[in-house]
Amino acid sequence: MARDRNRTDKPGKGVTRRGFLGTVGAGAVAAVTGLPRPGEAVPEITEPKGMVETALSINGRMHRLLVEPRWTLLFVLREQMGITGTKIGCARGECGACTVLMDGSPRYACMTLALEAQGHEITTVEGLMDGEELGDVQQAFVEEDAFQCGYCTAGQVVAAQGLLAANPSPTVDEIRAGMAGNLCRCGAYVHIFRAVERAAKGRGKGGGR
């Protein structure tokens, strides 16, 4: 089954995306549901406590930035730095559109504070390119038509990259499990499986990067 990207457990013995939230319990889920409940007191307004200086390593390049402590890595990437390949689908760890690699492992950028990313190597879909050339996983996605609208695709490609790094020749069931943290509403899963298989085969022949 899928593992939640943002658990610190070793990959493989995790729980599913759904299972993880389930175990956290209804209270935690309700707390992030957004709309105020009837009769709920007006919350205290937190003035931003000023900006914090940080340095993030993104796609092999150091960026020095001022961030609010509450800003997520996803927000900083997309809205502050304009690195918009990484997408936003839910902002609460449920869809995988925001998947990036943190030190080579897939991780939901919406569930990672920018400050947490400090000291780690962050790779986004842009970081899988070689100049203007597509990386091997990206190329496999092109050839197998492993997307439709393409909105989940950056997350899928990055997740596949992470999967293949951990398991260079996955079986179809391992691919299904490895990709289960990334929703695709267009339903391109079958082609995604084929793309990951193709990329794995290409690497087996020494074609990968």
């Binding site: 709309l35 986004t124 050839e143 909105y151 509403r185 267009c186 499986f193």
Partner: protein, 768 residues
């Protein structure tokens, strides 16, 4: 809007001139029909495609909407004073703001205010803010104090029509009189039948949930407005904005080059589109307003659920004698359309006596929007399970029963013929490729895991497309091409398919064709992409434009060289003679072309045949495994046999088939909007964790697409019919039939969750 026209444009449509060519159908094709990666695949996998939610402009603010937390309430007082003074907040807008005092058209027949004090569903807009960051905007929303008078609510259409139900609309809870359709005499039909069955079915409400949330970025330059919107149809958005803001169409530019899925929920503008534009106006800054996932699940569309009662009669020889169907459904609190539940019962199988009665009731829930084949998957859920049961009752194979009742004409349209119908071949060839008869003859199973197979068929009421459409093709001096069309590519591969059509006519490699689309300022008018009508609408216009280019080019060469134009054709990057191999003129040597630098061809979409109906048809087959200890259903394999006319790109075609099946698996097994029917009326699973869409673990890797091509020469000049809707219509019913085959239990309610199935198994066990 009538219940039936939800997928069609509202308001006046431009008429386009007749096409200039009436080309013969293609014979053998070089490019069309092959498997080709998309021409914009690079942008989509590299992250360079700019989706509307990616747009970041200098000085841009972030908008957010305060939404009513109650299912039904009156806004008594809004106090935004505290929010106004908060850090980063640039504008606060409520129902009392002068600029926001606008009527919001939910449809042609129903409207509310943009910020309506009477909130008829959870999530209705109450106020809005714009701030420097989205976090500050969220803080400001929390600081707005609203006093609500909470009203009694109705969260289920069955409650809406019950005696003593709270009245949620002045005219009562029913949206008009029941719609009745009738042919023949059902009483007589039932009297003639050897077997009559009557069953109730229920379908849950589904949410579209495209991966890109709804939203836009709005920017003003003086009195000109530019909006980047995640939409299926930029011209529809333009018309709504121009109408509401009293702007000339030319001053409203809507751009939607890429968009992250819609499935019908992005055919129209949202309140958020207007709110973002107003916020941008009052702040004189660009404003980005994207809804949260939760907001999208409450406010911007759903597939109406339904109660369906179906009575059917059949003779022992498999002749269907009568259908009687009554349905009750809800579009939410406004009249936005919720219909077509009965269309398949009226049109899919030969049956002389049919009566349907459709009731639509209001409930306190977000407005429905057309969702991939409105009404059809629900209708198939009932009809296709019923066909299976009838077949069992007369001891006939269900595929055979369907085959015996394949109609030649559209009975629901007074007997008009179809331009082509591949229903019989979808059933026959699909069954053969699936190994249907062998799979049905399986051994008696006693273990914990039981396997079964199921099938279901469908047609889709539309899928023929039609005018208007205008397309421009430009051939440059070096032989490369620009294709300019207004249609959005919503993920179906429209751009790539159209490039292949151009390539077929002009002999240019599709990779040398760039497509410019979905921009009201720079591309031609197109209706929104949806309803499986984009390919059949646009591809004939594209072909016409390409032929216009070709004709000019050949005439030019004929004149230059004194050759007979009728003897010339295009081959590679050259004009060649059909008869004289010596006559060959590469583009680079056509001096007029080299001086002129470009040849422009304009193409139009001609009308569909008047006396025939263009519909796609399909049959799907699947195998499932049921865990009788847990009630879990695992889908093992699927086959979709589809008659959608000519296949233009086999790769994107197959992808569409698998995607539709995947969505259908969600409808059948996992998806359900849950409203708190008794206590609050609120949605309990407005998130992607508890609203369960299929994941990679829920779909089988073993899916097969089997195109059935009959060579329809009548429907239009490319022979293509729509594909996007039929692929998801029969899926859930096929699964239900397979579950029945596996464990002998009929699941009449979607979704077939483990708890539902284990409960039914327990009952069956007890009774058995």
């Amino acid at each position: 809007m009538t219940r039936r026209d939800s997928y069609w444009a509202e308001g006046p449509l431009p008429e386009t001139p007749s096409p200039q060519s009436s080309p013969a159908p293609w014979g053998t094709t070089r490019v069309v029909g092959t498997r080709r990666p998309r021409i914009d695949a690079y942008e989509r996998v590299s992250g360079t495609a700019v989706y509307p939610s990616d747009v970041v402009l200098p000085g841009m603010l972030y908008g957010a909407i305060l939404r009513c937390p109650h299912a039904h309430a009156l806004v008594k007082r809004v106090d935004a004073s505290r929010a106004e003074g908060m850090p980063g907040v640039r504008a606060v807008m409520t129902g009392r703001s002068k600029v926001a005092d606008l009527d919001w058209p939910y449809s042609r027949r129903d409207h509310s205010k943009l910020f309506d004090p009477h909130c008829r569903h959870e999530g209705e807009a109450v106020a809005a803010v714009a701030a420097d960051t989205p976090q500050q905007a969220a803080d400001a929303l929390r600081a707005i104090q609203v006093d609500y008078e909470v009203l009694p609510f109705v969260a289920d259409e069955r409650d809406a029509v019950a005696a003593g139900a709270p009245k949620i609309r002045d005219g009562g809870n029913l949206a008009g009189e029941p719609e009745v359709s009738e042919r023949g005499d059902v009483a007589k039909g039932f009297a003639e039948a050897d077997v009559v069955l009557e069953r109730s079915y229920r379908c849950a409400y589904e949410i579209h949930a495209p991966m890109e949330c709804h939203g836009c970025v709005a920017r003003w330059d003086g009195n000109r407005l530019t909006v980047w919107e995640s939409t299926q149809g930029v011209f529809r958005i333009q018309a709504t904005l121009a109408g509401m803001l009293h702007l000339p169409l030319t001053d409203v530019r809507v751009i939607g080059h890429y968009m992250g899925g819609g499935f019908g929920s992005k055919l129209q503008a949202g309140k958020y589109t207007v709110i973002a534009s107003l916020l941008a106006r009052v702040t004189a800054r660009p404003v980005k307003l994207f809804l949260s996932r939760q907001e999208t699940m409450l406010c911007v569309g759903n597939r109406p659920g339904a109660e369906i009662r179906l009575k059917a009669g059949v003779k022992k020889d498999g002749t269907l004698t009568a259908f009687e169907l009554s349905s009750l459904t809800s579009p939410g609190a406004y009249e936005v359309g919720a219909g077509l539940l009965d269309w398949l019962a009226r049109d899919l199988y030969t049956c002389p006596n049919v009566r349907t009665e459709s009731r639509v009731a209001f409930i306190n829930a977000g407005p429905a929007r057309p969702m991939r084949a409105p009404g059809h998957p629900q209708g198939a859920w009932a009809l296709e399970q019923m066909i299976d049961e009838l077949a069992e009752a007369i001891q006939m194979d269900p595929v055979e029963l369907r085959l015996r009742n394949v109609p030649k004409v559209s009975q629901a349209r007074g007997g008009k013929p179809y331009t082509s119908t591949g229903l019989a071949r979808c059933l026959e060839e699909g069954a053969k490729a699936f190994g249907w008869s062998e799979a049905r003859k399986k051994q008696q199973q006693n273990g914990r895991y039981r396997r079964g197979v199921g099938s279901a068929a469908c047609l889709w009421i539309a899928g023929g497309g039609g005018p208007p459409s205008t397309v421009i093709v430009k051939l440059f001096a070096d032989g490369s091409v620009n294709l300019n069309m207004g249609a959005s590519d919503i993920g179906t591969g429209t751009k790539s398919v159209m490039a292949m059509v151009v390539s077929e006519e002009l002999g240019v490699n599709p990779d040398q064709i760039r497509v410019e689309n979905a921009d009201t300022a720079t591309t031609q008018f197109a209706t929104p992409s949806g309803g499986s009508k984009t390919v059949p609408t646009e591809s004939p216009a594209v072909r016409d434009a390409a032929i216009a280019v070709k004709k000019q080019l050949l005439a030019l060469v004929a004149e230059e060289k004194g050759w007979d134009p009728a003897d010339l054709e295009l081959d590679g990057q050259a004009v060649v003679s059909r008869t004289d191999p010596q006559r060959r003129l590469p583009f680079a040597e056509i001096s007029r072309l080299q001086r002129q630098r470009v040849i422009v061809g304009v193409g139009y979409r001609g009308p569909n045949p008047e006396d025939a109906v263009v519909n796609p048809f399909a049959a799907q087959f699947c195998e499932v495994e049921v865990d009788t200890n847990t009630g879990e259903v695992r889908v093992l394999r699927f086959l979709g046999a589809h008659d959608s006319g000519r296949v233009l790109n086999r790769l994107t075609y197959d992808n569409q088939v698998f995607g539709g099946i995947t969505m259908g698996i969600g409808f059948g097994l996992t998806e359900e909007r849950v409203l708190d029917r008794r206590q609050t009326g609120k949605m309990l699973n407005a998130n992607l964790h508890s609203y369960r869409m299929p994941t990679a673990l829920d779909v089988p890797a073993d899916m097969v697409s089997l195109p059935i091509e009959l060579g329809d020469t009548e429907c239009n000049t490319t022979g293509a019919k729509g594909l996007g809707e039929p692929v998801t219509i029969p899926t859930a019913a096929a699964i239900a039939n397979a579950v029945h085959d596996a464990v002998g239990v009929r699941v009449t309610d979607t979704p077939i969750t483990p708890s539902r199935l284990i409960g039914l198994l327990a009952v069956a066990h007890k009774e058995g």
